[in-house]
């Protein structure tokens, strides 16, 4: 028998068993076959003891209520044992115990073992299957389980260590179902659990299901799977003789439709016969049956075979279609999801491209040099601006070293730049902002301010440097020019200071040179006027007086020029020593008294009580007062000149007022400027250098005071100056 035929036969048998309509006929047939088999017992050969594992898996193998091993496998084995003169000894236990015993060699045969390649490593199998049976899911009546998808989230009980369980696990996994598998030691327990609600469904072969489902209050679901061939298994290392005998005998049994094999199947897959048949009725039945069978069996069996096969195929087709539909649906869902992912990815890619283009635009359009280079100095990126700026097209510069292209070996002032790339790569932080000289392709030198940033890999190693450069040539040149200008300015200042020193020295010398002859003029004039050299007549005396006045005026001029030049050169130093200001005022008044009297002016002096000793420069204080009083007398033709002195807030305040010509408003501002004599007409009416008031102002300020003037043209002027009672350190 070929494997295919075997398989078909197995299907056929299993399907037959699934069709309750045929029960009656087969029940009868089985009885006939049983009787027939009893009649044809062969002669006994030598006796051999065969140990057989037995467990509860009705109707394939089980222990009957009377304690006898029963079932299809037992029937088949006993038929073979009878022919081969084996003595069978049954070793009861659970399925798992039976397998263990077989593995240890404690038993010779284990019935009802499905073949797998994995099991063949542990056990030996014969070749002709005893049975091929579908596995099926059983559930409580009305469970609503209609397809395998309904099992999602359910607890499924299954016999431990079975191919059935493993196949089911793979099957449900392939559908992506979440199922809790509860391994059980035997099918009886399994059905009890399902019935009690401890499991939602149970797996078993159709043979067991047919026999016990209804009794347990369960029903078969449409979920069938894994039609598997079942064999006797022997220990792996046992002789094959036993298995070969089984194969031979089984082939014989299967070829003969009247054999004990078919009888057994019919017997155990039918509902149990509960009634006893009288012997005579048996014999009558036999006769009738044989007659009936001979006439009907052929056509009936054939017809039934066709029907069963048709149903079988229909069911298989339905299952296939259902499975395909489910698979299609799953695939469609996955496809839709995949499509969505592809679209999402495309969108991201598009966004990335857009973003890349945007940044490329920025980098290429930037008004700066943007470049990247390796720590060895090799240029890997050079933007458009850089290409234009340095005069290298991209294809010419990329891959070349910055040294010798854009970095000169030496800059203009001779600094060595050959190690610049290495230095930046070694210590990028130190060169984060760096200005250095660069060189264009046409050898022009340019200055660039660079921002250098290292690009590091995961280990922190510098793989590239990003350098952004701004042309600073103009600024560097401007700085250079500025430095030159500053140097020129410093030189000019030095020259000016030199000239100033020379001017001061010149003035000092001039002053001396002018005074020396004046010394003689004034001196001899004085001697002559005194009459020391002999008596003078009136005319001589008058003329000598004129010489003396002119000489003294010349001396005043020289003194004023000397003072103002000393002040402007910052060389005039004032002292700070105690002196009696009241005495000084009176002394100066006495000095100018003759001048006032000569012009017929009244000279009024008012000195308040607290005015006395102050700390200041006596000579300069007297010079200020003398100057103001001389001016007042000089510019007053009639009326009076007055001096008022008082103390207020730590300052002594001296006012010199007159009833003279006064000062016009527009002249008041120019009053204290040097070389500025207020003019009263086209001709100068009054002698003077125009330096007196500006000297007074500087002196007052040097002494820590202030000077001011008020005037009403035609009515007179009042000058007022203050001096601190105690001059500060300055």
């Amino acid at each position: 028998m070929s494997g295919e035929i075997k398989q078909k036969t197995a299907f056929f048998i299993s399907r037959i068993l699934a069709v309750p309509a045929a029960y009656g006929v087969y029940r009868l047939l089985s009885i006939v076959l049983l009787v027939l088999s009893c009649l044809t017992q062969p002669a006994t050969a030598e006796v051999r003891t065969v140990m057989v594992g037995i467990y509860e898996n009705a109707p394939k193998v089980f222990t009957s209520e009377s304690g006898r091993p029963s079932g299809i496998f037992v029937d088949v084995l006993e038929e073979i044992a009878k022919k081969e003169s084996w003595e069978l000894r049954y070793v009861p236990g659970t399925w798992a115990e039976g397998l263990d015993r077989l593995a240890k060699g404690e038993i010779d045969l284990m019935p009802d073992v499905a073949y797998t390649a994995e099991r063949e490593k542990l056990y030996s199998f014969h070749k002709v299957p005893v049975l091929s049976v579908w596995s099926q899911v059983y559930a409580p009546r009305g469970s609503g389980i209609q397809s395998i998808l309904d099992l999602n989230g359910k607890r499924i009980a299954a016999l431990e260590r079975t191919i059935q369980l493993e196949t089911f696990r793979r099957l449900t996994n392939s559908f992506g179902l979440k199922i809790t598998l509860i391994p059980v030691p035997d099918y009886k327990t399994e059905f009890e659990m399902v019935a009690a609600g401890k499991a939602d469904a149970g797996l078993t072969n159709r043979l067991y299901g047919l026999m016990y489902a209804r009794k347990s209050g369960l029903e078969d679901t449409p979920i069938m799977f894994d039609p598997a061939p079942f064999f006797f298994a022997a220990p792996r290392n046992a002789s094959r003789q036993l298995l070969d005998v089984i194969d031979r005998r089984l082939s014989e049994l299967k070829q003969d439709h009247q054999s004990a094999y078919y009888a057994s199947i019919n017997r155990w897959t039918s509902e149990e016969v509960q009634f006893k048949v009288p012997a005579w009725l048996g014999i009558l039945g036999l006769v009738l049956g044989v007659t009936l069978l001979l006439s009907l069996a052929g056509s009936f069996i054939l017809k039934h075979q066709v029907n069963a096969r048709t149903r079988e195929l229909k069911l298989i087709t339905q299952e296939r279609e259902q499975r395909i539909a489910e698979r299609t649906l799953t695939l469609q869902k996955m496809n839709a999801k995949l499509q969505q992912e592809i679209e999402e990815r495309a969108r991201i890619e598009k966004a990335l491209v857009a973003s890349e283009a945007k940044y490329r635009d920025i980098v290429e359009g930037a008004n700066s040099v943007i470049m990247r280079w390796t720590p060895e100095g090799r240029i890997t990126f050079f933007n458009t601006f850089a290409q234009n700026f340095f005069g290298y097209p991209g294809e010419e510069i990329l891959g070349r070293n910055i040294a010798g292209t854009i970095v000169p070996v030496q800059d203009s002032v001779g600094h060595d730049l050959s190690s610049l790339a290495r230095d930046i790569a070694a210590r990028p932080e130190a060169y984060a902002i760096n200005e250095n000289e660069n060189i264009r392709k046409n050898k022009d030198r340019v200055w660039v301010t660079w921002t250098n940033r290292p690009i590091r890999d995961d280990q922190g190693r510098v793989v590239e440097i990003l350098s952004i450069g701004v042309d600073s040539t103009k600024r560097v040149q401007a700085e250079k020019e500025l430095r030159c200008v500053l140097e020129d300015l410093a030189a000019a200042k030095e020259r000016a200071e030199q000239a100033d020193r020379l001017k001061s020295a010149f003035l000092a010398t001039m002053s001396h040179e002018l005074r020396t002859p004046l010394n003689s003029i004034i001196g001899f004039t004085g001697i002559l006027r005194q009459g020391l050299a002999g008596p003078l007549n009136d005319e001589q005396r008058k003329q000598l007086e004129m010489v003396q006045q002119s000489s003294e005026h010349l001396l005043d001029l020289i003194n004023d020029v000397l003072d103002i030049s000393k002040i402007e050169a910052g060389q005039l130093q004032v002292g700070a020593a105690p002196f009696d200001l009241k005495a000084s005022i009176l002394k100066i008044v006495r000095t100018v008294q003759p001048l006032a009297r000569k012009k017929g002016l009244e000279l009024a002096v008012s000195i308040a009580e607290p005015v006395g000793v102050i700390i200041s420069d006596q000579r300069r204080a007297e010079q200020i007062l003398l100057n103001l009083l001389s001016n007042a007398i000089k510019y007053t033709e009639k009326g009076q000149v007055r001096v008022d002195c008082s103390v207020r807030d730590g300052f002594v305040r001296t006012e010199v007022g007159d009833t003279g010509i006064g000062i016009r408003e527009e002249d008041m501002l120019k009053l204290f400027r040097p070389f500025h004599q207020v003019e009263t007409g086209l001709t100068r009416r009054y002698e003077g250098t125009g330096l007196g008031l500006s000297i007074c102002k500087r002196l007052v300020e040097l002494l820590g005071g202030k000077i001011s003037a008020e005037s009403e043209p035609g009515r007179g002027s009042t000058f007022c100056f203050t001096l601190p009672l105690k001059k500060g350190a300055s």
């Binding site: 001061s504 000092a508 002053s511 001396h512 005074r515 020396t516 002859p517 004046l518 010394n519 003689s520 003029i521 004034i522 001196g523 001899f524 004085g526 001697i527 005194q530 020391l532 050299a533 001396l555 003194n559 000397l562 000393k566 060389q571 005039l572 130093q573």
Partner: protein, 131 residues
């Protein structure tokens, strides 16, 4: 006996003017035209007072005053600087160099004698040569 005044001055007119004023007032005046001559005259004649012009040829008045003081022969003799220098520090420089007084040029013939006699009388040295 007439008091002896040494006047070191290179300007002929000034030398004559001062000499004339002092001789009229009863002093004996010895004139010297430069520092070297003045130092030599000072050690020879032992004057009651020395009038010293500051701007002199070859050796300026400050140096002459310093040398006179260093020589020690005119210890206690007043040296009065007689100069038209009026820049800052002139007075101090003269005093530092060893002068005891300072009369600014141009001199006033009416007050000059009084100014000079004040320095003559204020002469601090106990070992003075006035007799």
């Amino acid at each position: 006996m007439k008091k002896k005044i040494l006047y070191i001055e290179d300007n002929e007119q000034n030398l004559y003017l001062v000499t004339y004023i002092l001789q009229k007032s009863g002093y004996e005046v010895v004139g010297a035209r430069d520092g070297q001559e003045g130092i030599a005259a000072a050690s020879r004649m032992r004057p009651a007072l020395i009038l010293l012009d500051i701007q002199l040829p070859v050796m300026d008045g400050y140096t002459v005053a310093r040398k006179l003081r260093e020589a020690g022969q005119v210890a206690g003799v007043p040296i009065v600087a007689l100069t038209s220098y009026a820049m800052a520090g002139d007075r101090e420089k003269a005093l530092e160099a060893g002068c005891t007084g300072y009369i600014e040029k141009p001199i006033n013939p009416e007050t000059f004698l009084a100014q000079m006699e004040q320095h003559l009388n204020e002469r601090p040295s106990p070992g003075g040569t006035a007799t």
